[in-house]
Amino acid sequence: MFNISRDFAPPIKMIEPFFVIGSIFYALGVLFLLFLDPSSGHVDLVTVGWAHWLLLGFVMMTIFGAMAQLIPVVVEVGHFSVDLYYIIWPSLLTGTLTMVAGFWWVPDVLAYGGLLVLVAMVTFLFETFLTLKKAERITLSVKSVMWANIFLTVAIVIGFLMALAIGEGVVLDVGKWLGAHAVLVLGGFVTLTIMGLSLILLPMFGLSHGFDETPITRAYQLMVGAVIAYVVGTLIDWNWVRWLALVVAFVSVGFYGYQIWIIYQTRARKAHDIYAKTMYVGYGSLAVALVLGVVTLFVSSEQVILSAAWFLILGFFSYLINGHLYKIVPFLVWFERYSPLVGKQKVPMLNEMLPERRAEWQFWFTSAGLVVGGIGLLFGSSSLFHGGVTLMVVGAGFMLSSVLSMLSYGKELNISRTENNV
């Protein structure tokens, strides 16, 4: 008799589509950059369409998939109903494709795409809030995830209204609300989610203990305040409030960076493996994005805005996500295929399930491309930008191949937990 609770690890067949689709969107998203003109502004519909491709198809898709495993880890209770994740990826996939088609070719379908994305996100929020309700210990991570999801709720309502405005002629100042939508998604949801999860995951993987959590507490409070202030500033149309909110958000990121440094200093596990190296570049990119972000407060330059966004999205967000895929995917595969064999036969360690060489190639190609492409954007050099993107395309190919390889590890065992009386 084998009796393993599935509360803390959803079945791989449920999560696999999120990671495969996310990696394909990442690879194609980087590929599309070859055809983008770096001199187009950040409000150009082609750029906005690309941003939705990457943020919905890669960032959100992968975060949602990861959350199926990580939410129980954070709140220390099982899901309310993990089966709802079967609804999320199909609606998010079709919604994203429809929205991007709306931005690039047929504005009329934008609202329909927005509706499908709304369904995916409302389902995610419904499941998440009901799981959070079961939490017995309200830690900082739980609070971060809760606020992140509140901001996501507001962001998707605003986003849907903007889609109606572009596609169906609903009266709304899209230019004015675009900033609030971006701050709610990037600062409110993605950054707060990363803050909350990294307080759990970085010490877990680095074996850090007994460190001071004051900086991340400040970071969390300031980011929540900054996002609320930015939305209020947009509502009442006070530019100085929005400007001040951005300053507070940057200070929050500074505190967060300091917390990461403390965790790094107190870690017991000093190995510079693929996970650690990916984190170094991810947080390095955050520092560069922060500096460039501060510059945009004083200098109005489209190149600086785009390069700050480059290091934030393709540096920080992408590295944090891809780095954690090297941890989460082997764990889920191991849990599904090898945990029933523990005590019966030799099972692999998680690090043995990594396609090490491919992961290394992915890291070096992507990192070189990130730096070269970022410099190209900053100095307005189209050839440098496209050169960097080409390197990143190769890296993204290795990433996709690594994810598929990890997912197929031990597939021939054909063991399911159902067969083992779960």
């Binding site: 609770s5 803390f8 203990h209 007994g210 017991a268 764990f331």
Partner: protein
Amino acid sequence: MCNVTKEQVLDSISTVIDPEVGFNMVELGLIYGVDIDDDCNAKVTMTLSTRSCPLHQMLEQWVREAAERTEGINEATVEIVWEPAWNVTMAADNVKQALGAM
């Protein structure tokens, strides 16, 4: 009177390996104590390297099963405690060395 020793139970538990770090539970210093009563029932007191460990339930189960595999042990129970909180100084020297912590 039970003749099974604490060391025999620890030997069995040392077959349980944390797949993330690649060391067994005993050398990681996660097993705080083993008590064996006169009827040869074992009570294992252990912790985890983090409260949010996704393998929480499985590690608990594997340790219980491993303790019960010890020859002479009737039944084993496992209690997970959080005080004192685990840190790397509780691990064996070979673990600390391999992790780069010494």
